[in-house]
């Protein structure tokens, strides 16, 4: 399983990539593996506000339906519009083609509360 060093991770298994004053958000390789084949994705719209630790979207796999939680608060500036038609990208490419939303965070400092790759790896080994 792959956990890129440049990303930050949450206990709910989302990843965050910081890109200037924006961040991209998706779910981790561990999360996609646990979910199994993803068949449906529901994402917010550009302009929506997301709140930290509140659900902003839904992924449905053949096994379960799960909320996706916002790792930090902000405004949605871009949504991966390919995802609803190709939800399998979340399984095949969770960190690249499977990205979900890009937001402009209210407070970049909220990133500091997230885990780095090694802390996240230790966290999922414990779970």
């Amino acid at each position: 399983m792959d956990f890129p060093e440049e990303l930050k991770y949450t206990e709910d298994h989302e990843w965050v990539l910081s890109e200037g004053d924006l961040v991209s958000i998706g779910i981790s390789d561990f999360a996609q593996d646990q979910l199994g084949d993803v068949v449906f994705v529901e994402l917010p719209e550009v302009g929506d506000k997301v709140e930290i630790s509140k659900a902003f979207g839904v992924v449905e796999s053949v096994k379960a339906v799960s909320d996706i939680y916002a790792p930090l608060a902000g405004e949605v500036v871009e949504v991966n519009s390919d995802l609803p038609d190709s939800p399998e990208s979340i399984n095949t490419s969770p960190y690249e083609d499977g990205w979900m939303i890009r937001i402009k965070p209210d407070d970049m400092a909220e990133l500091d509360g997230l885990m780095d790759a090694s802390a996240y790896q230790a966290f999922i080994e414990q779970e």
Partner: protein, 485 residues
């Protein structure tokens, strides 16, 4: 392998559209014996492309063949956890077909349907006695509608008190429908982590004056009785909230413990689970809701009143949440449930509960060495295993598919979500020891196959009418209607 494993004469069948022969017809309309009219063009439908043309025997064979693909409690063991797929005694059907019940029009005035109203009233009283609630509605026509009605009553009660509470606490061992119900009623769902059972501390930490209710399932989806339920109800009440109990698992409590006595304010029943009425495709459901005295004014209308000169449906109740469906109830189902109650009686209902718990614990004892048991606490009417101990990349889905080869309907899988790769088995009281042994033998053999010949699991089912289906493809590219090719 079990004798009912499906081999041999499996009747295959095409779609009815594909059986069509142009010009074939199975019906003659009678001669016109009234003046003919020319309907407005806008009311007429154009030719339907591909509309099937068949004879009567074609149609009868088509649906009869399809019916042989059905599986139900009358075909065999149906161990779906949390669903209480108990046998539905045929006496219930006999009673429901009595002409006075079966032919009663729902719009018949009260004074001409006293027998039916009395049955409903008596069933209501019996369910109140069993559950410990002082008042009850028979109106909701499914468990989910019962939950909806219950949460609307909780909302109405808070509104009448002037409370503006917007949160509902739901433990991670609750039924999956509970968060959906709370959300549908406009509440924010706050999940509470449990360690098998709910702790008083966990509820205390989440319980503030924005919480309208706690929704709990007892016994919970792990089949565990909530030992702190009384204290938890007191705590929620002391902070101004109410407690909703999902009664789906009532089959573990009947005649032993009354939820109303534990401090619960609202609970729905599933007559199609606990009270042996048909389930799923076998018939409509019924989800009566019992409430505390404080919530009685909010019951849906009409309510059934017993008065000096008979029984009456009363709709004039200013605080009521309103009417949930056309007419008073799913009456035919109520007749079956009442027949079940009367044919069992209090002692046999209690005995059924004991046997349901015994059967589940027998399965637990027989399978404990072969499958991982994630929660060691004493469980009641169902038992949850996981695939954690299975070797060679064998998982719960493989076990479920392999069970088909052994001639058994699989248990509930991948639920509850708190158990990874869950196998949730609820045998109910109506299965014999022989049946349970055959089922356990099959599961033990499958656990052995996982070690010695895992391909048997990965390739399963081989005996079923269809091999393993591509559920992912079906979900990603659903073909929901027939199209002429």
């Amino acid at each position: 392998m079990s004798a009912i494993g499906s081999k041999g004469l499996i009747l295959n069948e095409k779609l009815i559209f594909e059986r069509s022969t142009a010009g074939r017809c199975g019906y003659d309309l009678p001669l016109l014996d009234v003046p003919s009219v020319e309907p407005d063009r806008s009311l007429l439908r154009d030719e339907i492309e591909g509309f099937p043309e068949l004879s009567e025997v074609d149609v009868v064979r088509h649906y009869t063949r399809l019916s042989t693909w059905n599986y139900g409690v009358d075909s065999g063991f149906y161990p779906l956890g949390s669903c209480t797929m108990k046998y539905n005694p045929k006496i219930n059907e006999v009673v429901a077909r009595l002409p006075g019940f079966a032919h009663l029009h729902p719009a018949t005035p009260d004074h001409l349907s006293q027998g039916a109203l009395q049955l409903m009233y008596d069933l209501q009283q019996a369910l109140c006695e069993i559950s410990g609630f002082p008042a009850l509605t028979l109106q909701p026509s499914a468990g989910a509608q019962g939950e909806f009605a219950g949460m609307l009553m909780i909302h109405a009660w808070h509104q009448a008190q002037g409370n503006k509470r917007h949160k509902v606490l739901i433990p991670d061992t609750a039924h999956g429908t509970n968060p959906a119900t709370a959300a549908l009623c406009g509440y924010d769902v706050v999940p509470i982590a449990s360690d098998g059972v709910l702790s008083i501390e966990a509820v205390a930490a989440a319980m503030d004056d924005s919480v309208a209710a706690l929704m709990i399932t007892n016994p919970n989806t792990l089949g565990l009785f909530e030992p702190n339920i009384r204290e938890i109800c007191e705590l929620v009440h002391s902070r101004g909230g109410l407690v909703y109990c999902d009664g789906a698992n009532l089959n573990a409590l009947l005649g032993i413990c009354r939820p109303g006595d534990l401090g619960i304010d609202v609970m729905h029943f599933n007559l199609h689970k606990t009270f042996a009425t048909p389930h799923g495709g076998g018939g409509p459901g019924a989800g009566p809701v019992g409430v505390s005295a404080a919530l009685e004014p909010f019951l849906p209308v009409p309510v059934i009143m017993k008065e000096e000169d008979g029984y009456r449906l009363v709709a004039d109740r200013p605080l009521s949440i309103g009417q949930l469906r056309t007419y008073a109830s799913q009456f035919g189902i109520l007749v079956r449930a009442y027949a079940y109650l009367l044919s069992m009686g209090p002692q046999d209902l209690k005995r059924a509960t004991e046997l349901a718990v015994l059967n589940a614990n027998y399965i637990r004892a027989r399978l404990e060495g072969s499958y991982h048991l994630p929660y060691k606490q004493r469980s009641l009417h169902e038992v949850i295993f996981s695939d954690a101990d299975l070797p060679n990349d064998c998982h719960t889905l493989d076990v479920a598919k392999r069970l088909l080869d052994y001639g058994f309907h699989p248990p509930t899988i991948y639920f509850p979500l708190v158990v990874q790769g869950a196998l949730m088995i609820e045998p109910t009281e109506t299965e014999s020891k022989q049946e349970l042994d055959e089922f356990c033998d099959a599961l033990i053999a499958i656990a052995e196959e996982a070690k010695s010949s895992p391909h048997l699991l990965h390739e399963a089912p081989v005996n079923a009418r269809t091999r393993r289906l591509d559920e992912t493809l079906a979900a990603r590219n659903p073909r929901l209607r027939w199209e002429k090719s």
